[in-house]
Amino acid sequence: MTSWFTYLGLPFGWAWFVATLIDILVIALPLMLAVAMIIYADRKIWASMALRRGPNVVGPFGLLQSFADGLKVFLQETIIPTASNKALFLLAPIITFTVALIVWAVVPFDQRAAVANINVGLLYVLAASSLGVYGIILAGWASNSKYPFYSAIRAAAQMVSYEVAIGFILISVVLWTGSFNLTNIVEAQRGMGLGIVNGFFINPLLFPMAVMFFISSLAETQRAPFDLTEAESELVAGYQTEYSSMSFALFWLGEYANVILMCALNATLFWGGYLPPFNWAPLYLVPGIIWLLLKMGLFFFLFSWVKATVPRYRYDQLMRLGWKIFLPLSLFWVFLVSGVLMLTRVGTECAPQDRVHTKQYLYDDGRPRYPTDGVCRAASANQSEKRS
């Protein structure tokens, strides 16, 4: 799109700026719509599993229920507790909501469709998801109330614990792909299983990681069975207890945007992302974004299914699962994956003449001082491919 704006006569910088703004809107607006529909879907799935009807009054099949709820909270009064820290109290839901949106910048919707195809994509995802905890801590502290504060403490411990495990799981994916770029990670899954199946899940070395990532993503988004931060039987509504009206709605939206994001990450990292499930030419006629949405829908169904059927963990069980089971297991798996890769791959990626070297470490005649140095030119050429 940038080139189209430069064609209109804008200088490159501004053309890029306008094009990126439009890209952001093109993602954020449908995302908000998707959040509204996914809340409806969640309630419907949950209701069906409990043999209830779920929302069925507003609009056909109750489809407009989320919009009615949105209008309702919009018209309510915003109550700010007098003893609260006003600025932080209002900032907290904004942080939660914003952080849930910014990660979408790097999610690839198709081979060349990501707002920012950066080479540290996965690190960006980790960085942004580690910011999510601030919204909750600040909400808990600024409310100046007991239950929100307990909830904030729980949330901080829970998210920090599971991020460690998630980090190791992602490392094994990165090791296998050789890149932090999400588009490269998806492309590496093309024809993973005997050239037929697309996706890392088919790899017996990575499948346990896919399962662990799914469970960790439940914990990271504080969905059941790990929803201890808003355990209604213990903490009223957790960190949201003192919130009302739009500030409450922002938490709600941010939470569901995070859930959709985790579905997208599950799909992208282990289940082939925008690639069709099988590496068969006719399937590629369907646009990548459709496949991605289908996979996200499947994962969201799993999230809802878990929420409807699994009882809540006790807090010590949650910590045990994170630190005593997931952490050692994922650490061991990183060793295992890197060992397998060392045996099968090291030194075979490219010929010595295809290696790029850092200038300072060459002899004057251009020979590298250390033969093991250098990065394959082919691999890095793929990476510097930018969206036009």
Binding site: A127, L131, V133, I137, F149, H357, T358, R377, S380, S384
Partner: protein
């Protein structure tokens, strides 16, 4: 143009939030300003093309260190009067440090404007086609492998030290055996009986 705007925005925010970190009265606010400063410093790193360092700064400092920091500060019951009393006591030592740091900054600026330092070679240390993660990796895991692993060992020692120092045996605490808990079936724990009217059951 956009780069310049972004640079001045980030630079201004870093300095402003650093100043507010020091002057904020509420310690929680101070930590939050510090986090904002980290965040904008990461923005500056992205601008100079060190995106890997920028992301690490956000993940490690903002995502983990500052969370624990905030945690501790929130739990503390801080007496503001005591804090202000301490200010007068340590003002002299603080002033010495401040003068020292200011002198260092001036020396650095002096050396920089005097030239003779090979800045050009440092400005673009990696080839254009190599992303800086790979460039870092190829140095850290080949040339500096032993230094790198040495750093890892130092961190490991620090971690074990922290665990040893804070660990204490609790006498008389009944630890739970999770595998035994999981292996327990309903029939081990419950018994169905049909007591007759007016007669209890023997346990």
């Amino acid at each position: 143009m956009i780069q310049a705007i972004a640079f001045y925005l980030f630079a201004f925010m870093v300095i402003a939030s650093a100043a507010l970190t020091i002057t904020a009265r509420n310690p929680v606010h101070a930590v939050l300003w510090l986090i904002l400063a980290f965040f904008n410093a990461a923005g500056l790193m992205v601008l100079v093309g060190a995106e890997f360092i920028a992301m690490l700064l956000v993940i490690v400092y903002v995502g983990a260190v500052a969370v624990l920091f905030l945690f501790v500060v929130m739990m503390l019951n801080i007496d503001f009067a005591e804090l202000r009393a301490g200010f007068a006591k340590y003002a002299a030592i603080g002033a010495v440090f401040a003068v020292g740091l200011a002198a260092e900054i001036m020396v650095a600026f002096g050396a920089w404007s005097a030239g003779k330092i090979e800045l050009a070679r440092r400005a673009a240390p990696t080839p254009d086609t190599v992303p800086n993660i790979e460039a870092l990796g190829m140095l850290l895991y080949t040339r500096y492998l032993f230094v790198f692993e040495g750093a890892g060992l130092v961190l490991l020692v620090a971690m074990i030290g922290a665990i040893v120092l804070t660990h204490r045996e609790r006498k008389g605490a009944r630890a739970q055996n999770v595998s035994r808990q999981n292996a327990r079936r309903p029939q081990d724990a419950t018994r169905n009986t049909q007591p007759t009217v007016g007669k209890g059951i023997e346990l």
